[in-house]
Homo-oligomer: 348 residues x 2
Amino acid sequence: MSVSLPGGMTVEQLEEIYQFAIDLGKKAGQKLLDGMNSRIAGRGALHTADANTSNNLAFTEKDNAVDIVTQVDEDVERFIHTAIERKYPTHKFIGEETYAKLAARDYLITPDHPTWCVDPLDGTVNYTHLFPMFCVSIAFLLEGRPVIGVINAPMLNQTFSSCIGRGAWLNETTPLPLIRNPSIPPMPANAPGKCVFSCEWGKDRRDTPEGNMHKKIDTFVNMAAERGSRGGLGGMVHGVRSLGSATLDLAYTAMGSLDIWWEGGCWEWDVAAGVAILLEAGGLMTTANPPEDPETAPIEDVRLGSRLYLAIRPAGPSATETGRQSQERAVREVWKRVKHLNYARPGA
Amino acid sequence: MSVSLPGGMTVEQLEEIYQFAIDLGKKAGQKLLDGMNSRIAGRGALHTADANTSNNLAFTEKDNAVDIVTQVDEDVERFIHTAIERKYPTHKFIGEETYAKLAARDYLITPDHPTWCVDPLDGTVNYTHLFPMFCVSIAFLLEGRPVIGVINAPMLNQTFSSCIGRGAWLNETTPLPLIRNPSIPPMPANAPGKCVFSCEWGKDRRDTPEGNMHKKIDTFVNMAAERGSRGGLGGMVHGVRSLGSATLDLAYTAMGSLDIWWEGGCWEWDVAAGVAILLEAGGLMTTANPPEDPETAPIEDVRLGSRLYLAIRPAGPSATETGRQSQERAVREVWKRVKHLNYARPGA
């Protein structure tokens, strides 16, 4: 039986690609782990202190001190790219490292080709410091839409994966979101109250009121402050979490462990696999920047190249709302509390 | 051969206690995991949405919505307490849950008895949301000083442990800090630049300039902002991380994955095991609140009951400094950038 899918692909063809992607994610994750273990064993003196002129694990600095890219990063992307080229020579490939070498930062994903969108190493700063929150992220897109996602965080022994219509999974055995029996909990009645709010400080650290750092801070404080404060904006979230990996932020939102993720500044390869997993798990994803009237404006689907993301965890029905209604309520409550971020890009 | 230790204990006696503590940490961690898996399987409807009237995993709210304590928390503390009472009936026991039921919040650790200081579940909010950053924390103190520490984060498969003079370890096999070959890196030359800075938003969310939330925020922004900004205070740290577990913040600082942890408001059971592990790994720990002259004041040892903590990761020598000198330089650079926090307690 062949059901037709976007791009005229069959279920069987997609299943083969899914298994290939999971296997690729595992192998790439092992390479990240090997690189880490080499450093622990003293082979490769990558560290942020003073040893930046060493051997195969030496690093070069990109935009500023925050933006480190390691040789491992490039090696793992080449490994993934080569494997895809061999297996699927007609597919298009967009990876962070190859992309970063282009002069322009155009949005290159088009609906006309089956496309892979890959971040070989998300959470690079964590990786250089050996903090476990790093991962490889592999997405497969049909007609511009992520339909397969694989995220492997090898130091955490966690692989998140999804294929459209096949569900989202932790380590291929546990369905996401984790809490689903007897039903997936709705968003809290007073969301963002009782929610765990996930956000990142990012690399834009300019100390100006109109810069993204201060807009993010204002937003974080609105979300965290006690109820009734800040002219009614105080959201009293349960907790504020910053992991240093946009990809894992999304994976944990799909898992239901983080309730709300709000972010600007990351790129399609950071989020493509996470979008696939989150949507397949039943999450909602839209834009970080609120429309003119956050109370009534339509909640549009996320644009992958927008660099502005708001994700709400999967939610089930309550006595008074559908799951989707409780998610939309949460989106509007977040939009009321957040500042507009400025992350321009050409063509998106 | 018996070397004498604080409290007149022999190395052999301490070794036996260490193995007992590691075993206890593993069993307690398994109980946390069992509780989590029960919820995933649909037995026990603990969730922050609306299902707070359920069976054995129901929760009650403490100070406010942020402060959830689960039945698992109390059960695991009872399990640990009972095991210690049976094995070491003369030892004193201080646990978060038993302590929390007392009216006063005095500092109860005294140098006259071998004492266990235990948090059955650190990262309670994470646990209720099934976010992996939770753990059990078990410390053993002689003469008021943590000499054994065991931290087990069961969903991460990570156990951190130490015994005075025996080193600090990840999963009993990998010595901490992770990067030590050929030598432990010194703190970066321009610390807090290039450092990963770990901090928590905490539960005090009052929206007043003199409240702890705004003092924390000002500090976070000083640490994060670009160099040269904020009247010279901009620290341009590599990353800002908030995990929601003071205990794991400390464990990852001992691991060398986080460079600086600055926190006010947690309690001795949150940090006692982490202090043992951090110090045994070669880290430095002192107070969060800077002295009058941060440039020259002596850097005093941390007071366990102070609720004000600053930890610096283990550091090795450079061409121009000892490891300790680079740590002390980092302490002073942090002190210049942080605000005084207000966390009073009786008797500390």
